[in-house]
Structure formats: structure tokens, C-alpha cells
Subunit: 540 residues, 2 copies
């Protein structure tokens, strides 16, 4: 027997309708790519999104056609999202930091038909659009005065388009499972794969992120999403902020310490979200200029593990609460957020720090499982295994079935991370699953050994890789790059590790090289490292 | 094109699974009907709910069968909800405050097959069960030692049932629109009508209520729902608290000031919810005993309009934030909650009080419309009309189609209230729609006139009813009950009203009677009042 409650489809057009009706004057402030700060509000964003919908309806697109954006966070970019999604188009966010050939691959794979772009990407588009046959036109998110020179056909000016449209347009009215957003993961191996969000998944994800232990923002908050809109939906902020009527401050292209600080202060931002690198830049700026944070109350940090120094500086020096978060494109991106339980609130400061450095707890709507040798591992805070995730805002497959089946028999997605979960539900990532070492059926965390080995005086970088062993399948090989003018011996390092890790975790050998290969973001490139040692053999 | 996100049904069994996995030790504390305080936790509630499910599966029920509860708030009552809902049964909450013949009508109409009851209702059940042929058995929510004497056949002891069952039971796996709860409205006219909640509506309602501007509770909160579980799902707390891992304190049958105060203090409650009457009792108790509230931070008040004195006393004297709320059984019950917007936070204290006495703003997932003469009224804060409501947790029809079609052509439900909405989205109820006076196409609020007339010295009760008028259809008739030993004249009263209300709102006559008829809850019984004046004619 079915219940007798109203059929009310969870579609994202209702979000901006709600914001327009209840918070029409609440501001959307954008640092424009052209320079000036632009001030808009939910009422204007709503009206302009509707105008854009009307223009899109005249462009010979089909229901479900992809239109792309190549843009920094701004009010105009936000209008593109709602204008496209409201009429059943799929908004595909392109990451402008990708190489040109990656962008071409993605645009062709997605079959994007229109590209909305900031003017700063005009040189890039001149180069790639001729190689993307699906693209019918480019719209520059600017006014007539700032339109770039172009050799491309069918280039439009965003503000000119809106001038000629009216804001009467019927939105929604379709299945809540309809696709509305597309974002490609920049996987380290293979081609990028597209995650296809639905209206329903975005709404449910927003509700999750609005719970008190996740973001908990309200109509009185001022939110600055430094995290770009092309990174997993701005971590949902573009949907969740209008749901509650929070003011949004958009940083545009400038994420340096001085620019972010200026917006935090002038717009009285009290909540913000970004990757650790952004906060390192801000904290350095604050230190070098001896400034204070006068409005900021909470900061969400994700995208990479939270360094303890950032955590302590924000909390101790600036009185800002730090929430460590973990997620990925495939998870919309909310996986976990770290807030203290009542039990943790009773602990010492150092114990609390240890908890806050974990990736956090899952809200209702996210199910986590630690899987090891096809079985669920205990939630004891030490047993680690593959981190699996399930929920209404988690991908079940990639666009056009790239990568085939991606869920296990219980419907969980494999995150590619290795983690443990403690009895209080705090999840901690200990490794990437491709880097974990499987020795005779037991798992060894490469990162744990590296974190200890780096403590040896003179060690600059320590990297542990699993290496072929005839008896144990794999055994840990520790590779060391010493600091300039330092000499460290194998015995010294093993002696230091001894007693700090389990006996069977002890590396079978230590090798010294001049330069451990690093990736673009400064992380150890283990693929290259394994390649370097592919002919190596452990000492008998 | 559909999105590619996981199919994860919104069913309430997942709530208690989540609480068990992440917050198994978080307490559920209940004042039992038998007397002692019982301490349980989410882990135990989960395990015991599963045991109950297994017992229910042995009782020859069908998917969708109704099982009823006649019980105060307690951990055991909570287990009945999850135990029944988890396997696709419908939990029907019976209101023990109804008259026996109303209960019989409702039980028969719902075709309840099992009744879970507190032992205090044994005398009532002995009387009514023989008249309810659908009921196969009664389960008393107690242990063997406290089982009541009974002449009924098939009476079970709850704790004995659980002793014989194991806690392995598959929950869920059905359509999220499956019915899971039934609650009858005690309408003032006609037979009670059943609202049939779905799993989906309860989950979405919980997400709404967890947003910061509604309840915003988190894992570190301790929640005392004084509002009974048979009043529109405890205002959702039985679902929303386990979603975030908040501790729950259940008051059982005792809602007097001393008993509530004891629980607030000993259990360190920081959030609670109830009707104004409960808070009047608590505040009187606090005043007479000169006690303080040491943990309480926020109180949600709904079910009737918030008296200004309660608001001011809580906030000024005890430092407790008051959130005025409005809802009804048909709305799950969340309609609006009153929290201050940033604009309101800038206002004077008295202006803020005026806002807080309004019923509040709608969260995302609740759509409001003021309808007058078949048209939407402007949101100007003065124009009032029928309050219409739409959303995924709002009824679309009653059980067994009682009352026929209840939605308008746009899918809105008519609340029966008359209200206005201001430009900031604050809704204010001004009347019941059956009490509003429609004079020559214009609407006059009976309550507004009453609230002013009560200010005349010597007036005890002022009631305004619409009365037949040959030209205007209806005109306001003001009926006055004076205080003992006071005399007030018609001229005095009309003189007082003059200038305070619009000229065309002025009552056509004032009549004095000894006793204005009141209902059981102290409200003016306008049906009886209209009956008294049915032969009255306005002076020419």
C-alpha cells in the first residue's frame, strides 16, 4: 500500500524558485574575471536564469543535451546552471586547469553543444573549439564592452542574450531522476570518466549537507565557496545556499591570500570551503600582514588530507572552527565531515586534534563499509581496507558506461581509498588502494611507514612501494631521498622504524635515490617510482 | 535522459540502521508509565525493533496492514514504530485523549489488527476492544511483573515477546512511497480523517526539519519531545533525532512542570518541543520554585499560537531561544518555523518580538500560497486569504478517500487557516477560514477585531462572528462577555475600536451575553455562538 502524500518531484529548479520567493534580496556577490565586484541577488539570478532558459530553448537542443561551462565561480555561472537544468538540459562543468587535449577529449565525449565561458579562456577556446565538432556555439559570460576578439563562428555575448529574452519560462515538470549535471573525474589512470548527477541526487545531497554536523548553514550565513563550481558541484554550495537563503560570495579567478581575505572581510563571510592549499596561502598572508579574521567562524577543508598546522592555526590563533571533510566527484561529493561527538568533546585538546585530522563521520544518506578480502572489516579504528560507499548521491556507473560495472554485489562503490572506521563512526583514510602493500594476505599501509620514516634526521622524502616478492607476493620497499648534504644509512632508518611499526611491516630493503618523482600537485608519483624499480630484486 | 546515481530508497528503516551503526551508545531515556526512568540506546532500540519485526511477521499480517499504538512517548513505543515500519506495516498512532467512541470509530476505520498499548490504558481497552472486530490482539508495553489484569483474549506482554525473538531481520527493500504511518485528524466537523504518511515523506520531512532554521539538531544535542508521538509523528523528532544521533529523552505520561523540569535538568536537555500549555505549566513551576534552566537552549512551540508572555519569559528571564512553529497532521507536520533573518536581526527588540509571534518561514520542501477569490494574494504582510500548502510531506488525500479531493488545481492543500505572508516570507495566521467574515467580497479578520476589543476595560471575552446581512452577505457581529461586576456600553466599545480598524471592519452591532461558549481547550466555540445568534437580525 502506498502512502497518500503529494507527488512533489525533487528537481533543482525548485531551489531557485524557493530562494526567489523567500530571499529575493539576499545577495550574490561575485569578483568578476573582468575586475569589478558585481552585486546581484536571488531575485535577479532567478529572473536571469529564466531568460537564459528561454534563449536555450531557441537553440535546437534536445531534452538531456549537454551544455558546458568553462568558468570560475560567479553569479553568471550560477545562472547557467539553473537556466540549463530548469529545462532538462545537462550542465557539464569543464575544469579549466586541464590540458587542452584533455578538454577536447571530454567535450567530445560529452557531446557538448554550447559552451559558456569566462573571457579569460578565449585563447584556449580559439585553440580547441575547431577540434570539437559537437560544439555549435560559445557564449562569453560578459557584457558587450568586454567581449574578446574571436575567429570562431557563433560566438555570443551573455549580457546581450539576456537583454533580448523575457523571464517567463516554465521549469521542471519532469522525473526527478532526470540528469542535470555532468562532471568528469581526472582519474590518474585511463581516460576521464563522467559522473552524471540527477536532480534528485542534488536535492538529497543538499539536504544532507545542510544538517548541523555537515555544513549546517542558515539564512543568516554568508558563504564563500572558494572550491570551484567545476569541482563536484562546488561541494553542493550552489544548491544548498539558496535552499536556506544564505548569501553567497563568489571569488572568481582570484584565490590568493590577499584576494580571499579582502572578500572575507568586506562581505562579512562566516563560512567558507576549499582545499588545504588555499588555506595555506591565506594563513601565510595573514601572518605576513598581521591581520585578523573578523567574521569567519567555520571553514570546511577537503580535497586533500588536512595538515595539522592549518587546523591548529585556524583554531588556536584565529578562533575559526575547522571541519575536515572527505568526498569525491562520484559522491556529489559529500562522504564524511569531521565534527566532534559529545564523547569527543569530553576529550583532551590533543585527542580532539587527532580526531579532527580524521576524515570524519557520514551523515544519514551516506553508507560506508570497509571491505577487505571480500568481507566487511570491523569498525575498530585500526583494521583498514577498501573504503566502499553507498547512497542516493553516489554514482552507480559512469557516463556512457565507461569503466563498466562499478558497484559491488551490495551496491557499494569502491572509492579507491583505503581507510578504517572507529566505533564512533570516524573514518580515517590510510592509503590509496593502489599504494597499499598486500603481503601474504596481510595489508601494510605505505603512508604510515612514510610518515614515520620522514622523522629520521636528514630524510627529505620517504616513499614506500609494494615490490614483488617470490614468497609474500609483495613486500615494502622504502625509497629515500635525503636532504642536501646529509648522509643517512639503511641501518639508521630501519633502527628508527623498529618498534614504531609491526615487525612484519618492516621494509625488506631501503634504497637511496637523488630525486623521488613528484606529480604536479607535489604528491609522490608512485607509478613513476614503481617503474624506476621494476627490475630491482630484494636482497636474498 | 536519467542521471546515473544510485537507487537508494528513502525508507525509514535506514534511519535506525544508521543510528545503530554510528551512534549505538547514544541514549534513549524514558520515564515509564510504571514509574522508573528506563535507559536504553540506539543499539538496543535497533535490536529490539528487529525482534519485534520478527514477532510481527509471525502474526499473519499482510504488507500494508495497520498496527496501532496507544501510548505515551517512550523507547518501547519508538521500537513499535521501527519494528512495524521496517517490514512494510503501517503504524497507526491512536490519541488516548479521544473519547472511547471516537477511538472505536478510528480503529474500525483503519482496520487495526494489533494494538500496542501502555498499561495505563488497560481499562479503556477492556471497554472498546470488544467493539473493534479487526483487532486480533493487544500487546502491553511492559514486563511480566507489570502486566494488567484482563478479560480480553490474545493479550501479550511486550518484554516476553521480545525474549523469544532474535534480532536478525531483513528490513526495507520496497518502494519508498510505501505507506508507513497513519494518524487521524480530530477535525472540528465531520468524522476523523486519516493521513497516510509514506517512508519517503517521513525522510524528506526529517531532512527539512534538520535544517538550521527549523530544528537544526546535531549529534551533540539532547532532545526532549514533550509533543506526543501520536501528534503528527512527534513533529518528526522520532525520525530526525536518530538521523543525526541526538540523544532523546521521553517524558512518558507526565507533562506537568515539575516532571518536565526534572528531566530537563537531570538529562541535560538542550532542545525541546511542545504546545504552549506545557510551557505555561513549566514557567509557572519555575516561578513558584525559583528554579533556573541550566541546560535548555532552544524550545520549539507549536500546535497553537505562541502567547507573547511565554516568548518574553523564556528569552528574557531564562535565556532560552523560542522558535514559534506552525503545522498540522496533514503536513507531517512541518509548515513554518520562526527564526530571524539577517534583516530581522538588525531590528529593535520589539520589532523582533512582533516577528517571532508570527508563525514563521517555510523551509525548502514547503510551498505556501495565500489564496483569495481563486487568486494568489500578494506577499505584502497585510493581504490575508486562505493558507494553501504544497510539498512532498503534505497530504494529497485522506485514507480511503474520506473527504474526496482535497487539493486545488495547482496541487495545494487548503489548511483551513487564513493568513498573510510578508515580503521576507514570514507567514502569520489571522483567522480560521470558517471564522473569517466575507463582507461584500472583502475579508474581515474576526481575530483582529477580538484582539483589539479585549483591550476595553471590563471586557472578559470578545467574539466576532459573521452574520447574515441582506446587502453585504455577511457583516461582523461583536459579542461581549463582561468581567463580573463590570458594565460596558456598545458606544464605549465601538468608540474604542474606531480608528484602530478600517471603517468597513466596524461591527454592525455589539451584543452582550453572560457566558460566551468555550470549547474543551478554552477556545471560543464559534459554532455554538453562531447557533445562539441564528435568529438575530442586525438593527436597520
Amino acid at each position: 500500500m502506498l502512502g497518500l502524500m503529494q507527488d512533489w518531484a525533487l528537481t533543482v529548479d525548485k531551489i531557485i524558485d524557493h530562494a526567489n520567493l523567500n530571499y529575493s534580496n539576499r545577495e550574490i556577490v561575485s569578483r568578476s574575471v573582468e575586475g569589478p565586484i558585481l552585486r546581484s541577488n536571488y531575485g535577479q539570478v532567478h529572473s536571469r536564469s529564466k531568460k537564459l532558459s528561454n534563449w536555450l530553448k531557441s537553440q535546437n537542443l534536445r531534452f538531456g543535451s549537454r551544455v558546458a561551462s568553462l568558468a570560475w565561480n560567479s553569479g553568471r555561472h550560477m545562472e547557467c546552471w539553473y537556466g540549463a537544468m530548469g529545462i532538462g538540459l545537462v550542465l557539464h562543468t569543464l575544469n579549466p586547469r586541464l590540458f587542452a587535449d584533455q578538454l577536447i577529449y571530454i567535450i567530445k565525449h560529452a557531446e557538448d553543444e554550447i559552451i559558456f565561458s569566462d573571457i579569460s579562456f578565449a585563447p584556449l577556446l580559439e585553440q580547441i573549439i575547431p577540434l570539437c565538432p559537437s560544439v555549435k556555439s560559445v557564449v562569453y559570460l560578459t557584457d558587450k564592452a568586454n567581449m574578446p576578439q574571436t575567429k570562431l563562428a557563433n560566438v555570443h555575448c551573455y549580457e546581450e542574450i539576456l537583454e533580448h529574452e523575457n523571464d517567463e519560462c516554465q521549469w521542471g515538470g519532469f522525473d526527478e531522476n532526470t540528469a542535470c549535471g555532468l562532471c568528469y573525474t581526472s582519474g590518474t589512470t585511463g581516460n576521464p570518466k563522467g559522473v552524471l548527477y540527477s536532480h534528485r541526487s542534488n536535492i538529497l545531497h543538499s539536504y544532507m549537507s545542510l544538517t548541523a554536523d555537515v555544513m549546517g548553514i542558515s539564512s543568516s550565513d554568508v558563504v564563500l565557496p572558494v572550491v570551484p563550481m567545476f569541482h563536484a558541484n562546488t561541494w553542493g554550495v550552489i544548491f544548498s545556499a539558496p535552499m536556506v537563503g544564505a548569501k553567497i560570495v563568489m571569488p572568481g579567478a582570484k584565490m590568493d591570500g590577499a584576494s580571499i581575505y579582502e572578500l572575507l572581510e568586506t562581505e562579512k563571510v562566516n563560512f567558507t570551503a576549499a582545499v588545504p592549499t588555499v588555506w595555506l596561502m591565506l594563513l601565510q598572508y595573514l601572518e605576513s600582514t598581521n591581520q585578523r579574521l573578523n567574521s569567519l567562524k567555520r571553514v570546511l577543508i577537503g580535497g586533500a588530507a588536512l595538515p595539522e598546522r592549518i587546523l591548529r592555526t585556524f583554531e588556536d590563533k584565529y578562533g575559526v572552527e575547522v571541519r575536515h571533510a572527505w568526498g569525491m566527484t562520484e559522491t556529489s561529493p559529500l562522504g564524511t565531515v569531521c565534527t566532534l561527538t559529545p564523547e569527543a568533546m569530553e576529550m583532551s585538546k590533543d585527542e580532539q586534534i587527532a580526531i579532527k585530522l580524521k576524515q570524519g563521520r557520514a551523515p544519514f544518506g551516506v553508507e560506508l563499509k570497509i571491505k577487505r578480502d571480500d568481507e566487511a572489516a570491523p569498525r575498530d579504528g585500526t583494521t583498514f581496507g577498501n573504503l566502499m560507499i553507498r547512497g542516493p548521491a553516489i554514482a552507480k556507473s559512469y557516463f556512457k558506461s565507461e569503466g563498466g560495472e562499478i558497484l559491488d554485489e551490495e551496491g557499494y562503490f569502491d572509492t579507491g581509498d583505503v581507510a578504517n572506521i572507529d566505533p564512533q563512526g570516524y573514518m580515517q583514510i590510510t592509503d590509496r588502494s593502489k599504494d597499499v602493500i598486500k603481503s601474504g594476505g596481510e595489508w601494510i599501509s605505505s603512508i604510515d611507514i612514510e610518515n614515520i620514516a620522514i622523522g629520521v634526521d636528514g630524510v627529505a622524502i620517504a616513499a614506500v612501494i609494494g615490490h614483488y616478492h617470490p614468497k609474500w607476493d609483495e613486500r615494502p620497499l622504502l625509497v629515500i631521498q635525503t636532504k642536501e648534504n646529509f648522509e643517512v644509512s639503511k641501518e639508521e632508518i630501519l633502527g628508527y622504524l623498529n618498534g614504531k611499526i609491526a615487525k612484519w611491516w618492516m621494509p625488506d630493503d631501503v634504497q637511496f635515490i637523488d630525486a623521488i618523482p613528484l606529480g604536479a600537485t607535489g604528491k609522490i608519483n608512485k607509478v613513476a617510482l614503481r617503474e624506476m624499480f621494476k627490475d630491482y630484486e630484494f636482497p636474498k
